[in-house]
Symmetry: C2
């Protein structure tokens, strides 16, 4: 495996033992991957994201967006209109996550496939969409 040049990686007052830990800490979480995933498709307004990400809480979406912005992964553009309009888009840094995300997606699909073999997925149950209550 690749040797880590320096043993510790610091960001925002936290210390990480390897770059992966840092990466994961920055874009993991209950919703961040999904947000980034949606933004890979192009910039989106707050409300669009809210609608696209079914089940996410209003406050939580705002929080996660602020986190991602603080990490420099997304950029926030405010249009001082009335009513207000705010757009979010990936920064170049955020775009840099694309290959990693692509691989994660492929891995997720592979994982799904593996498990479908032994234990078929219950896709017959549309109520699952409501699971996050």
């Amino acid at each position: 495996m690749i040797e880590t040049p320096s043993p510790f990686y610091e960001f925002n007052g936290k210390t990480y033992q390897c770059p992966i830990e840092l990466s994961i800490a920055l874009f993991a979480g209950r919703w961040k991957p999904t947000i980034i995933y949606k933004l890979l498709d192009g910039k989106k307004r707050y409300g669009e994201l809210k609608k696209l990400i079914e089940g996410i809480n209003h406050k939580v979406l705002a929080e996660q967006l602020r986190d991602l912005e603080a990490s420099g992964i997304i950029a926030r553009h405010v249009f001082p209109t009335n009513p207000p309009k705010v757009e979010y888009e990936l920064t170049p840094l955020g775009e840099g996550l694309r290959p990693a995300i692509d691989h994660l997606q492929q891995w997720g699909l592979q994982f799904q496939a593996e498990h479908s073999k032994t234990k078929p997925v219950a896709n017959h149950c549309p109520e699952l969409a409501q699971e996050q209550k």
Copy 2:
């Protein structure tokens, strides 16, 4: 009326909206990435992992290992000797994470570099190395 634009991904009773969410859920967490990272280097005994991952709690390591095993990412080999010896290694599925992890690592390094430019990292503080205790 819930639109179901993307299929669901289910595992272990939880539903995910996209494969990435699933992937992250499976190998994110405070320590899982680090564990996997260490195992990419080859199989390790419990005690080795404990030593390699400075700061991890005894119980937590055991838990995370069990989670990863349940997900099929790592395999556990028990040698019924005295004292007991247990080895952990990545399964083929776990190995499949390597490209994703490689990209995450690169991204983490890039991130680190970006932030070093504007806001120099406080590497002057050796106590940081001891932070996890």
